[in-house]
Amino acid sequence: MELIVSLFAAIGAFLGTVAAHFVAHDAYSNCPRYARRLIERAARRLPPFERARYEEEWLADLEEREGVFAKFKHAFDCLLCARTLSSLSRGRVPAYIEFSIPDVAKVRLDFVAGIVALKQVEDIFVGCDPSSPAPRGVHSHRLIVELQKKLQERYGELTPYRPGQLDRLTDLLEKMVQQPNGRRPLEIRLILNNGNASSWDQASFRCP
């Protein structure tokens, strides 16, 4: 009887060890994925205009961390500091411009980056529709004047320009060019924060 119990105990111990090994291996191999999810969650706690930047930055940081513990620690740290970063962002001028092609894609840029982008977009979009009564440059010029006026009334200063954001716009434009039905209208929205994370003023424009 004792022999049978010992045998079952040995088999149980062996199976338990194998199962623990599989669980540990699974946890180890999935660690980067779980850590990435934590970072994505942390980024969602930030104001909309900061999310893409910090998510990419933190994920790049995660890639450089070696070992399960270091990766998880970094991810949890990001989760914890998101609230602090969010409160720091509240003091900045939170305004951005969203460019979107309906049913295709959209991209958000800081205000100043958006203005630079508008000047690039002008060559591509404004005047591309021969039936449009507006001469080349009128749409974007009017838009820029209107955006600047709204911002100056409310804030008096602009967000700092962040190089690199235009790359995202380039991606968007490439997607647009690849559309089988040719060019589609580009929608441009100015989005201003009233100082409260949940309160946004929005103004929409549409380029031909």
């Binding site: 910090y54 994920l59 940081d61 890639e63 450089e64 970063l85 690199g164």
Partner: protein, 102 residues
């Protein structure tokens, strides 16, 4: 502007590291590794310095799809940051009885 920055120990360490090679940008991971500062402390600190105009940051110039990884963001001192950081570190080193960060 300077009064907005709280020159805590970790802040001084970061400033000292960045001022050693002011033209060389350093990523958050790089700074964290060099100074043993956790991400939870480092990123708010970098954001404060950036908001105050002491630091500038820019993306790494790679194509993430080609590199197979996200772009890093490099931080370096601005002209204002170099001036203010030098002054802060000099004051710290000359003040008697004050801890100097190595």
């Amino acid at each position: 502007m300077e009064s907005d920055i709280r020159l805590s120990g970790p802040t001084l360490k970061v400033l000292k590291l960045l001022i050693e090679k002011p033209r060389q940008g350093r990523s958050g991971a790089d700074i964290s590794r060099a100074l043993h500062i956790s991400s939870g402390t480092l990123y708010p600190l970098l954001a404060r310095l950036e908001n105050a105009g002491w630091l500038g940051s820019e993306w790494e110039t790679i194509d993430p799809s080609e590199a197979g990884r996200p772009r890093r963001r490099f931080y370096k001192l601005t002209g204002l940051g170099q001036t203010r950081a030098s002054r802060a570190l000099a004051e710290l080193q000359t003040a008697p009885g004050v801890l100097v960060w190595n």
